[in-house]
């Protein structure tokens, strides 16, 4: 119960921190719309219509969730280091992964906004018909994808504790994941050797589930794969965090100097 409370309080306060900056807020509102506009214009220029445009809209919306999580989660921990709170988080008796997970989850929640904004932008500005065949499965798939992406962000964020420059990994992985996880183009058009990498990434399965729900196909297998990977990331993160923290304590990387 106390763990749940801790996760909820941290999640809420992180959202509060992000909502307090007008610049961050404005950027968060506008950023997904630029993604969406670029993609819709590209698809329209290539003559796509109907389900292809819907697929693009859904892909663009998940891109927003991923981008908000991958770059922000790592950067947020770097921010904690800069403002001197990272040491205080480590010095607290609460297991460190329990503090990081809600941080990344709050980023993914901010990203979930981008899904709604992208779909509304597509509907009202580009006239894309958002016909979701199975709304319940769509919402469920979106929630699972948010958690899955949050857990992948958590895994990336853990490395930031040990390596001062690791926050850049989040930024570096932002665009490759768009490509590898099939947000915009089907996995089938990628080289065969890329596919096993895609299968290890929860967003691939989350994306697939969201598309399947929109088109009225079954989502169970994709959802289970996404959940299983999210749990695996959490487990690996817990194991790795102990090592990372000890290494950070040994190499004195918790503070900036």
């Amino acid at each position: 119960m106390s763990t749940l409370r801790l996760v909820l309080v941290t999640w809420w306060l992180q959202l509060k921190i992000r909502s307090r900056s007008a610049f961050d807020g404005l950027l968060g509102l506008l950023w997904p719309l630029f993604f969406a506009t670029t993609i819709f214009l590209m698809y329209r220029a290539s003559g796509a219509e109907g389900s292809a445009l819907l697929s693009a809209a859904v892909g663009a919306s998940v891109m927003g969730i991923w981008s908000a999580t991958s770059t922000s989660a790592s950067f947020t921990l770097q921010q904690e280091r800069r403002q001197g709170t990272l040491e205080l988080l480590v010095a607290a008796p609460t297991p460190f992964p329990l503090l990081i997970f809600p941080v990344t989850l709050s980023m993914a929640t901010v990203g979930a906004y981008s899904m709604i904004a992208t779909l509304l932008w597509g509907r009202f500005v580009f006239g894309i018909e958002i016909a979701v065949a199975n709304p319940l499965a769509f919402v469920l798939s979106t929630l699972v994808t948010v958690v899955g992406i949050g857990m992948l962000g958590f895994l990336l964020a853990i490395s930031t504790v040990r390596y001062r420059s690791a926050w850049a990994i989040g930024a570096a992985l932002e665009i490759p994941v768009w490509l590898i996880c099939g947000f915009l183009i089907p996995l089938q058009v990628l080289p065969v050797w890329v596919r096993p990498i895609a299968w290890l990434l929860a967003p691939t399965w989350g994306m697939s589930a969201i598309r399947a729900a929109a088109e009225g196909r079954g989502v169970l297998a994709d959802l289970l794969a996404c959940i299983a990977l999210a749990i695996a990331y959490g487990f690996i993160g817990m194991l790795v965090s102990r090592h990372m923290l000890n290494s950070a304590r040994r190499r004195a990387t918790l503070a900036l100097s």
């Binding site: 309080v9 921190i17 900056s21 010095a91 607290a92 008796p93 609460t94 000890n246 304590r249």
Partner: protein, 322 residues
């Protein structure tokens, strides 16, 4: 049994630079220090910047692993049982950092109350108690980014006390606080010790150490150069008076000449505005004022004062030229 036990503790920092040719560098921040702190004691670590004070505290609160040696807090080894140590200690450091600026003071305290597992039912009462203690009642709903440095420091202290720690580590807590705030802080620390909290304090301010600490360890270059009560230190280091000579333009060789005078134990030059002040530590019973003046024949001399040694004099003698 001592509450804090430190034995032959060392900490070396390794860093390297360069992309292809990595140049490794090692800095021995703490070099084999040993001390112990008893329950309810206020123990001070006094030393110049870079002496190893903060590194020592960070090892004790489990943020850094020692390179060699042993340390335990409340009987728990800081390497083997970090969580046990973290549950029982509080940490407050000086300066502007260590708070969530975009959150209110109240939200900051709520968050850290969760991190330190303060039971939800107690949180509200405890937070209000602490806000009262540090004088932030009425300002708790304002964002921290609008707080003055003194208010931030008081919030830090409230944060450090949320879980009623048995041992409190204060790392230069009064840095940047105005004199009134610093006095209030000292009163708060005294009250905590009276209620049984064990405190380890680092500070640059001698009067603070003199006023608060039961015992002091002077640390320089990563080693403890002397330890004892403030009075012990004053006696031990400089049992004679101090002659302060205000000089405008100390000429080369003057310090060496004064140092060579019979009855002079040490000489330190302190810059005070346009003047330099020669702090001459003298053997008990020695009369050296005339001899010092004769060494300063060409220099313009201002005020000359002879006084009893302070803790600051002891400190300066122990750690060398300021």
């Amino acid at each position: 049994m001592a509450v804090i036990e430190v034995k032959d503790l060392t900490r070396t920092f390794r860093s390297s630079k360069g992309l292809f040719r990595r140049n490794a560098r090692e800095v021995e921040a703490v070099r084999g220090i040993s001390f112990s702190v008893e329950r309810g004691e206020l123990f001070g670590l006094l030393g110049p910047n870079g002496a190893g004070k903060t590194t020592t505290i960070k090892m004790l609160i489990t943020l850094l692993l020692p390179t060699t040696g042993q340390a335990s807090v409340l009987g728990f080894d800081v390497v083997a049982h970090p969580r046990e140590v973290r549950r029982r200690v509080g940490y407050v450091f000086g300066g502007d950092r260590g708070l969530y600026d975009r959150l209110s003071g109240l939200d900051n305290l709520r968050y850290f109350a969760e991190l330190y597992a303060v039971p939800p039912r107690e949180q509200r009462t405890r937070i209000h108690e602490l806000l009262e203690l540090v004088g932030l009642t009425g300002r708790e709903k304002e964002r921290v980014e609008g707080y003055s440095r003194g208010m931030r420091q008081r919030l830090h202290i409230a944060r450090g006390l949320l879980h009623r720690p048995e041992v409190l580590f204060l790392d230069e807590p009064s840095i940047g606080i105005d004199p009134v705030g610093a006095r209030e802080l000292r009163a708060t620390v005294k009250a905590l010790v009276e209620h049984g909290t064990t405190v380890l304090l680092t500070t640059h301010y001698m009067f603070e150490a003199d006023d608060l600490c039961d015992r002091i360890a002077v640390i320089a270059g990563g080693q403890i150069v002397s330890s004892g009560t403030p009075d012990d230190l004053k006696q031990r280091v400089s049992s004679g008076p101090v002659v302060e000579v205000e000089v405008y333009g100390v000429l080369g060789g003057v310090v060496d000449r004064v140092q060579g005078l019979p009855g002079v134990r040490s000489v330190v030059v302190e810059e005070r505005g346009q003047a330099q002040v020669l702090l001459v530590h003298v053997e008990p019973g020695a009369e050296v004022t005339q001899a010092i003046m004769s060494c300063l024949d060409d220099a313009r001399v201002g005020r000359v004062v002879t006084r009893e040694p302070t803790l600051e004099d002891a400190y300066i003698e122990l750690v060398g030229t300021p």
